[in-house]
Amino acid sequence: MSYELQMEKYSGPLEKLLELIEERKLQISEISLAQVTDDFLRYLAKLKKEGELQTGRVSERELARREGLRILADFVAVASRLILIKSKSLLPELNLTGEEEAEIHDLEYRLKLYQGLRPAMKIVAKLWRDRREEFSRPYFMSISAFAPLKSAPPEGPEGAPARARTLTGFALRGGDDARAALFFPGRNLQAEALAQSLDKLFSSFVALIRESQVLQEEVVSMEAKIREITEVLKRLSKISLRRISEDKSPTEVIVTFLAVLHLAREQLVLLEQESYLSDIIITPKED
């Protein structure tokens, strides 16, 4: 299976999130989102790993790699909001800005909208498979429907050579029987116009290339931050999550949290919490 297909079977982070919530028979809410956060992050880690494996094998498929990167970035974006929600439930005194509160609501809202519209996707899938396709005729297929009258070129150059590519059919120009190629250049056909048109198209290439680079950078910087904090944590013995979250911007808290969860998953640290909503103590695991 190609990398592209690998990635494409995941229709997106909202689909996955909804699936996790519905698996537990929960309603969409901040509480249920906090509950499925770990599952979602675990899934993201798996996705990332598969992606890396596949990328190594088909590195020449740059487009496919980028598609994977994009999907990953989308998952990471949703993951960061989930972590925000989770952080809020674990660190109640964490002061969220209005913007962050809005982000949490936005995720809830989107998920509900997605749930409402999901049946539409099932309908399209069914119609697509039902094989009810209608057929049409190609553009100007029946120009060749009548007596084979050949027409002279209405505005072509003088003495255009005879070619096999003639247009038979109802006479485009009276009963002229001369065999000649049809040539309809249009008034705006000039080399300069073609160059301009290509120039316009190619400037959109530049945008496309740039867009993919920006995306790549974003994912890379996210990963780098996680790595950096992982290193710091490894060197510390015992530390509270609250302490390492102090004086940090909410984005940094998220990244920290992501790193901690990552370490816990890899079983490099132990997470302890004395009671619900109390501080989380992180202990490096002895080898």
Partner: protein, 182 residues
């Protein structure tokens, strides 16, 4: 020029047959030398005569364009004679994107991405390459594009107009409700 109603209907049939591809009302009017209002009337007349059981064709209409297509019930008779580029399966991501465009198009990339929660630039590109959707400049925001399904897409689904999408009104209502809530 075609003179009376029956003659014009016959001319319309011949014209759509020759053109093959979706044709705008305006262009039909120019070819038959009638006003756009009359074109619409002629199309209504033609559509109703095509409902007869002994007719194998129907009209596919979207916006101000119309195309002659075979009735979807004859799919099995015709499928062997027509080479088909589109029959491959769609991935979940493609289906999701197509559903949003089919029910809510014309729609901007931003709104599609918002509903799907993912960046859609690659998927939109691949759907355009397959000829299932097309984009055009948003008349209200000349900087951005809107996406809509193509006639190829409607043909594949066997519909004769966008409103034939099952539960079309209900899904649009769901979206409107959501969008007015915020």
């Amino acid at each position: 020029m075609p003179q009376d109603l029956e003659d014009k209907l016959a001319g319309l049939e011949a014209l759509l047959f020759v053109h093959g591809e979706p044709m705008s009302f305006k262009k039909i009017g120019e070819a038959l030398e009638v006003k756009v209002g009359e074109v619409k009337e002629l199309l209504r007349e033609l559509a109703s005569s095509l409902e007869a059981k002994n007719r194998g064709l129907t009209l596919l209409q979207d916006g101000d364009k119309v195309q002659f297509v075979t009735k979807s019930k004859f799919n099995s008779v015709l499928a062997n004679f027509v080479k088909n580029e589109l029959s491959e399966d769609l991935t979940p991501a493609s289906l999701e994107t197509l559903a949003i465009i089919a029910y809510f198009g014309p729609i901007s990339r931003n709104r599609i991405e918002y509903q799907r929660g993912v960046n859609c630039s690659i998927i939109l590109r691949s759907l355009m390459l397959r000829g299932l959707i097309e984009r055009f400049t948003d008349p209200e925001h000349p900087q951005s594009y809107l996406y809509r399904p193509t006639f190829e897409f409607w043909k594949h689904l066997g519909l004769t107009k966008p409103e034939d999408m099952p539960e079309h009104a209900r899904f649009r209502e769901v979206l409107t409700q959501f969008e007015t809530q915020t």
